[in-house]
Amino acid sequence: MSELDLNGINNMQYDVLREIGNIGAGNATTALSQMINARVSMNVPKVELLEFKELSDIVGGAEKIVVGILFTLGGDIDGMMMFMMDKVASMHLVNILLGNLQQSEPTDDTEFSEMGLSALNEIGNIISGAYLSSLSSLTNLTITSSIPYMAIDMAGAILSVPAIEFGKIGDRALLIETEFGDMDNYVNGYFILIPTLNSYSAILKSLGL
C-alpha cells in the first residue's frame, strides 16, 4: 500500500512520516547544536494535513516576521524543504555564530548585516543538508537540493510559495514539521518538509510500505 490518498492517510503512514521528520530533524538539530556549541532540543514532529487557510497558523500567524530559507528538491523526490525561524531568533543565532555577543538586543526592525545574511544562508544550507542526507540514507533515494533561497518577510507570504505548489494538485498541504529550540528558547524555529504527493508515495514505497 504505497499509494497516498490525502483524504485517507492511515495511522501507519502517519507514523512513518513522523519518524522521517524525527530522523531528519534530529540530524539537523545536531548539526545546529554543534555549530553554536549549545544544546538544541526539538519537539516530536507533527505530520499535518492542512487547509491552505490554516497553513500559517503552524508558525504562529501569517503576520509574524520570519526568515525563510527554501530549497527545491530534486532527484527521486520532488518538493520543497523550508527552514524557518523567527527574525529575532535568527539574529540571535547569527550573533552567536559570529561572536557578536556584545550587540544590543535585536528586534523585528533590526537589519541584518551582509555578513549576517550570508552566515544565515550557510546555516540554512548546512542544517537542511543534514536533514536531507539522513532522509536520503534512510530511504535509499537520491535527493538533490537547490541552492538556498532566502526571504525575510511575513510568514504567510513566505508560506504562500510552497502552498501554491500544493495548490496545483489539491486543496490541502501535507507537511512534516518539527520545532526546535535551545534551552533558553533564544534560538528557535521550524523545519518543514513538503514533498509532492508522488514523492510521499516514493518515500513510503522505499521503506516497504
Binding site: I65, D109, M150, G156, A157, S160, V161, E165, I169, G170
Partner: protein, 161 residues
Amino acid sequence: MNNTIKVGMADANVCKPPDVITTLGLGSCVGIVLYDPVKKIAGLVHIMLPDSTKIINNSNKYKFADTGIDTIIQDMASLGAIKRNLVAKIAGGAQMFSFNNNLEMMRIGERNVEATKNKLKKLGIPLLAEDTGANYGRTIEFYPETGLLHIRSVGKDRKIL
C-alpha cells in the same frame, strides 16, 4: 460593533460597514477586493493560482483567479450588491524568492496578477488601484465604509489605495 473579517489563503468573504475585511501576509497570491460603492458591499478573495482550467483538482473555487472572481460576485449579489456597480482593487502577486532556475515558479505572482486583470477586464469591472509585484509580502485591509484599501508591508510605510 465593528468586526474584522479574516480571509485565509484560497478563501473569500463578504463585508458591510462598519466591519472591515482583511487578509494577512499575501505573498505570490493575489488579494482581490470587489466593491459596490452604492450599496457599500465589499468582497475579498485570496487567490493562489491563475487558471482553474489548467488544474485537474479544482473543487475550491476561491483558489483561482477566474473562478474566484465569479464566485465572490455571486456571494456579493446574494447580499444585494449589483454587478454593474462593481469596482476592483488588487494587491499581492509578489515574487518572494529569487529562483534562478525555475521560470514557472518564479513567475507565479506575475501570472496571478495578469490572470486577475484579464478576468476583471472580461467582466467589465474597472480596476481602480493596485499594489502588485515586487518581492515583499502584504497585509491588506478594506474598509467598505470609505472604499479605501490599506496595505501594510514589513519595513515599509502603510499605503492607502
